[in-house]
């Protein structure tokens, strides 16, 4: 198709603001999906996505509207996938920015709108759910106008649920989103904005052709990774796969590669032809690195091979997931896993539990640290226990957080951010009632308990989003926990020096509560290097006897002792101290899932 009859766009919305419903209505309205085929939220294909109301993997659907080819590129709906979102947006010229008429602008809307603006996208503001009784379409339209500039009256009001106004959205896409403007005769270049793994056909790349055209059977090259393969099939989704044999400049579609390893075809890479190669790849390729790490341990150590197999399978479809074997004194054998962010971690964990039926213990997450040692080595540390002892400096990842709250909660949010070593950047009022606060925060301060705190201090009103802004030096130390003088690897932490005393105290207090009294005094210490910052003693038991034991009691008493012994066997031995696994879990702030 001629490029001036093509429009590539995506829909940006906060969770539950109606992105998927709008996509469904568009498919229906354009007869892409017949009524019989229609099922709610066609685009969110994975069970988990449907349940969580979010889209994990972006896909693209081609529809026809008034003589035009419209490609709707679905974006992942969450912060952790910012890079994927940005690649999806790079594949478009415009974006429909959807806001719930009853909820107004949310943090995620802000973050994604900024991303869209950074990618020079034409933004079409839309207020959805105007049919709801509690809808405030005017208020939401004003917030949207304040966010992206422009007039509230230009905002399209729709109900994706009833279909009201959806045609106007499609018309606006044709009128206002610019057509692609690639060089149709240049050597071909296509941006990979998503990929997925099909067990029969291998890796499927979702691409936006920028220049030139691609043909089935052609030998292709992924320029950054250097991966070569044959284009086994080309086509588009509508919403199922339709093979076309070619993809031309400006078009969006899929390429079946036959590759068996999703990590060889990374999102953001550029495809070109091996025979007619482009001189350089498209800008903006990034190797996305996990920022959040946590240990995953099977509840039952016999499940270890199953966890390994499951991670292998997930990895096929999730290039960002990292894992390596880890063994912990407290938790046995498991894996240290790296995730893009907290949601990514949650999703992986849920998929492991749900799709693979595994019971997992997940340790409190930590971030990636870049460490310069005294002898000049640079190491990236994913596990506090691996922190070198001779440290010159430590850099930690920072985020830029957008937090939207009703104005009466600005104070509590600022307080929270300050507690978490946040640096205030600026604040804007979206409306008279609501403000957006921009803070820079160490990611480490956000991965543990920040979101829950934010919600509880704002009675659930705050909405929060972030993106990673880079690594910065921090006054960070490793805090070790010693039980009866023995360091416990699983409990080491990296944290800011200023919070070391408080955390050390909390850890030691918790352990004193959780470790049963032993036959001898047990000192519990938290230490930075050789300096003890907190100490408690678990006093020895003063007595431990079965009061009476005569002829009628022997069986019962024997069983009691046997149970006691079995209980001891389940405990972890730290030196001479028996520590119940529960104590480790409580301290690691783990939650054992069923």
């Amino acid at each position: 198709m001629e490029q001036d009859r093509i429009r590539n766009f995506s829909i940006i919305a906060h969770i539950d603001h109606g992105k998927s419903t709008l996509a469904d209505r568009i498919l229906e309205l354009t007869d892409t999906v017949s009524g019989r085929e229609m099922r709610e939220q066609v685009l969110d294909s994975m069970e988990l996505e449907r349940e969580r109301g979010i889209t994990i993997k972006a896909q693209a659907v081609r529809v026809a509207w008034k003589g035009h080819q419209l490609n709707l590129i679905d974006t992942p709906g969450h912060v952790d996938f910012t890079y994927e979102v940005s690649r999806s947006l790079q594949a478009c010229e415009g974006a429909v920015l959807v806001v719930d008429a009853a909820q107004g602008v949310e943090a995620q809307t802000v973050a994604n709108a900024y991303l869209a603006i950074e990618n020079d996208l034409e933004l079409l503001p839309v207020v959805n759910k105007i049919d709801l009784p509690q809808a405030d379409a005017e208020g939401a339209a004003h917030e949207l106008a304040a966010l992206i500039g422009g007039e509230a009256r230009e905002v399209v009001r729709i109900s994706a649920k009833t279909g009201q106004g959806v045609e106007a959205v499609l018309d606006a896409v044709i009128e206002r989103v610019p057509p692609p403007s690639g060089a149709a005769d240049a050597p071909p270049r296509a941006l990979i904005f998503d990929s997925s793994y099909d067990q029969y056909r291998g890796v499927v790349a979702f691409v936006r052709v920028v220049d030139g055209s691609f043909r089935q059977g052609e030998r292709l090259l992924a320029m950054a990774e250097g991966t070569r393969f044959e284009a086994e099939e080309l086509g588009f989704l509508s919403p199922t796969m339709r093979a076309t044999g070619t993809l031309e400049a400006g078009e969006v579609g899929y390429v079946i590669t036959g590759l068996k390893d999703v990590s060889r075809l990374r999102v953001g890479d550029t495809l070109t032809s091996l025979e007619r190669p482009a001189a350089e790849g498209l800008p903006g390729y990034k190797d996305v690195k996990p920022m959040v790490f946590a240990g995953l341990f099977p509840t039952d150590s016999d499940d270890y091979p199953d966890v390994r197999d499951a991670l292998e399978k997930l990895k096929l479809n999730d290039a960002a997931l990292l894992y390596e074997p880890e063994s912990s004194q407290a938790l046995g054998f498991g894996f240290r896993c790296g995730f893009l962010g907290l949601l990514h971690m949650e999703i992986v964990r849920e998929r492991l539990e749900r799709e693979f039926d595994l019971d997992l213990l997940v340790t409190a997450p930590n971030v990636a640290y870049r460490v310069l040692t005294k002898d000049g080595r640079e190491v990236e540390v994913h596990n506090p226990a691996e922190m070198p002892s001779e440290i010159e400096r430590v850099d930690e990842p920072y985020i830029r957080a957008s937090i939207i709250v009703p104005k009466e909660y600005v104070g509590p949010v600022m307080e929270l951010c300050n507690e978490r070593r946040g640096r205030f950047d600026h604040m804007e009022y979206l409306s008279e009632q609501r403000a957006v606060l921009i803070y820079e925060l160490p990611l480490a301060e956000v991965v543990v308990d920040f979101y829950d705190q934010l919600k509880s201090r704002t009675r659930g009103y705050a909405s929060f989003d972030y993106d990673i802004v880079g690594f910065r030096e921090g006054d960070l130390v490793r805090l070790d926990v010693l039980i009866a003088g023995e360091p416990v690897d699983a409990l080491s932490l990296i944290l800011h020096r200023a919070s070391a005393y408080g955390r050390g105290r909390a850890l030691v207090d918790k352990l004193r509560e959780e470790i049963p009294r032993q036959l001898f005094d047990v000192p519990v210490q938290a230490a930075i290097g050789s300096r003890v910052v907190a100490r408690e003693t678990i006093k020895a038991k003063r007595k431990d006897v079965l009061a009476k034991c005569y002829g009628g009691d022997i069986t019962r008493k024997r069983k009691l002792l046997e149970r006691q012994k079995a209980g001891k066997r389940r405990m972890k031995q730290v030196g001479a101290v028996e520590v119940p696994q529960e104590a480790f879990l409580a301290v690691l702030n783990l939650d054992a899932s069923k």
Binding site: L519, F520, V545, Y550, R558
Partner: protein, 371 residues
Amino acid sequence: MSGGVRHLYVHLPFCGHRCGYCDFVTVVGRRGQHERYVDALLTELELESGLLAPHLETVFLGGGTPTFTEPAALRRVLRRMPRADEVTVEANPETVTPALARMLRDEDVTRVSLGAQSFQPNLLAVLERHAGPEDVRRAFYHLRDAGFDNTSLDLIYGIPGQSAADLDADINEALTLAPEHLSCYELEAKRGTRFAHAHGAELARQGEAMEGYFEAVVGRLTAAGYRWYETANFCRAAEATGGRDLRSRHNLAYWLGRDYLGIGIGAVSTVAALRWRNTPRLTAYLAALAGGARPPREIEELSAEIRGRERVMLGLRLDEPFPVNGEEHLLDANALERLSQLGLVTRAGNELALSARGRVLGGGVTADLLA
């Protein structure tokens, strides 16, 4: 044919009332049934007589409150008992009259174990004991007057509301009577008892404060010349009694892992590789024996391994070293090493001994030591 069991336990379940903390098999009142019960008991003894050695070392009449049994019925039981070197009867203070004391003496009872529990009226009330401190003393003197020279007192400590001073006072009272033997138990609020219901929370609260009571009891009694020969049992040391060994021979048999026969409702027997417990239900027991049959029983098979473990568990309660006799497999070598380093256990050749502190922590130490 005669077997080799030399220890006989006889259960007399009747009580005037049931104390809140009690979890023994007891039957309240039912005076009309005492004779029938004794009939059944003697029938069971007859049925099992083949297991007993020709001469018994010990007979122990426990309860319930054996001395609450109708005197005629009790006398009938005593008369039919096989001869033994030690015959013990448990008694509650309020049941001990001069006549009863004389009767026991006449029937060759050698030892009486008196359930004093406490000398503080308020604590006795908490325990729902009907006897007052005066009854305890009076009962004790009646026994002395009747010629008993081996009397044991039971004391309970860790009673809700009991202060350290109360404990001291109880020990003082007990020492004033100078009994040959003392059994001192920490009160347990056993699950399911009325007592646990009423006082469990309070006991849990006081737990820490009362933790030192056990050591205090041991300290006071040993200082007063008693031998702490078993976790909860003390007897006047041989030096003070001209060489008399005043340990309870019957209970020693349990702790040494010997076989014993128990008759009566709820009574337990352990003979070779079998342990059985008679039905705790009075009617079922009476019905079976009225027809000349053995009462319903719960039977447990005891492997050599289990009996070995029990020997360790019981043996370590005593002050004499435990003879390992080559049964190393019963012990956890690592735990032994660890506990030795902590000074809780000593191993010397064949013998395993707990230090004083090891004995105070005997439950945990034993659980650790068992393989």
